[in-house]
Symmetry: C2
Subunit: 192 residues, 2 copies
Amino acid sequence: MKQNTAQQILDVAQSMVRNRGYSAFSYADIAQQVGIRKASIHYHFPSKDDLVKELVKRYREILESKCRQIEHKGITPQEQLREFVNLYKDGLQENQICLCGMLTADFVVLNSEIQAEIKNFFAVTESWLARLLHRGCETQAWQCNQSVEVEARILLSTLQGAQLLARVAADSTSAFEQITGDFLKDKLGNQR
Amino acid sequence: MKQNTAQQILDVAQSMVRNRGYSAFSYADIAQQVGIRKASIHYHFPSKDDLVKELVKRYREILESKCRQIEHKGITPQEQLREFVNLYKDGLQENQICLCGMLTADFVVLNSEIQAEIKNFFAVTESWLARLLHRGCETQAWQCNQSVEVEARILLSTLQGAQLLARVAADSTSAFEQITGDFLKDKLGNQR
DNA sequence: GTCTATACGAGGATAGAC
DNA sequence: GTCTATCCTCGTATAGAC
C-alpha cells in the first residue's frame, strides 16, 4: 500500500534526524530517498523548521499511543517497565536513537517552537513513567525511596545516555542491553 | 597572559562543539571569536576533521589529568565519586555538555579517526570509574552487586543522559543536580 | 602566521510552468 | 503536487601576497 508523500517525507526525515541530527540532514537527502525533487518537499513543509516541528509532534503522539497500549495490555508493572525500556532498543541497530534525545543535543540550534515541542515530549514521557512507577509502588512491585517524578527522570536519563553510549560500541544493541539489563535487575529484582 | 593561537582556536571550537555539535559550528564562527580570518585557521588545522580530532585528544588528556588529581587528593571513594560527577556539572550553565557525549550524537557523521578517538575517551573514562568503584568496594564504601565495569557504564550513561535532559529544563544545573543528587544518595547512602 | 581573494559545492528557499 | 530553473548565502578549502 502506498503512503502519501507527506508521511513518506516525515518517515525519511525522522530516520535521518535520529541518525545524524538536525544540522546534518538536508532536503536533498530526503528528496533522494523519497524519489522526488527538493522543491517538492517545500510544498508539504515550507521550511525545515516546519518539518522538524511536525516531526516532533508526531513522534510524541506515537509514543503516547504506544504507552497507552502498554498500559492496557493487562501485564504487571514490571513487565510494563520492561516493554517501555524495549521501545528504546528499537531502531538502535540502524544507529537510530530517540528523536528527542538527539534533538536535545541540537537544542540550542533549534527555534523556540521546536524547543517547546521537545519539552512537551519529555514532560509527557516523564509523567507517564512516574505514573507507572507509582502503580508499581502501590502494588508492591517495587519500592520507591524518593519521589516517583525524580525516579522517572533518573530512569529516562539512563535510557537516553545508554542509547548514546551504545553508538560507540561494536554491537550497540547488546551494549544497550548490558546497561539496561542490569539496570532493570536493579529496579525490578528484590529491592534494596 | 596571551595564549598561542592554536590553543585559542581549540578553546573556542571546544565550547562551540559542546554547545551546538559538530555539524553546527563553522570556521567562520571560530574566526569571529578568536579575531582572525577563516583562512588563518587552516594554517593551524588544515581541515575541520584535523581540528576536531585534536580536540577530542586534548579533551581526553585533560580529563585524565583531572581524574589523576581526584585520585591523589587523599579523599574517600565517596568524595572522589562526587568530584567526578561534579566535573559533568561544569560548563552546564553555558549549555555545554561533555564534548564526547555531544559527539556520540554526531557519531555517524564523523570519520573513523575521530570515532576512534571518541571510543578511546570512553574506554579511558570507564576504566577509571571502574577502578574507583572497585576501590570503594574494597574499603566497604559501598557494595557492588554486579561487575564494576558494568556499574561504571551505567553510571556514565546516567551522567550523559542527565546532561542532555538538563538542557530542556529551565535551570539546567539544578535539573542535573536533582538527577545526580538522588543518584548519588542511591549509590553512596546506606546500601541496598 | 595572517591576510585577501577566490573556487566550488551544498543548503534552504522561491517563482512559475506543467 | 511535482517539476525545472534559479537565487543567495554559507561552509570548507586553497593559492599566493605580505
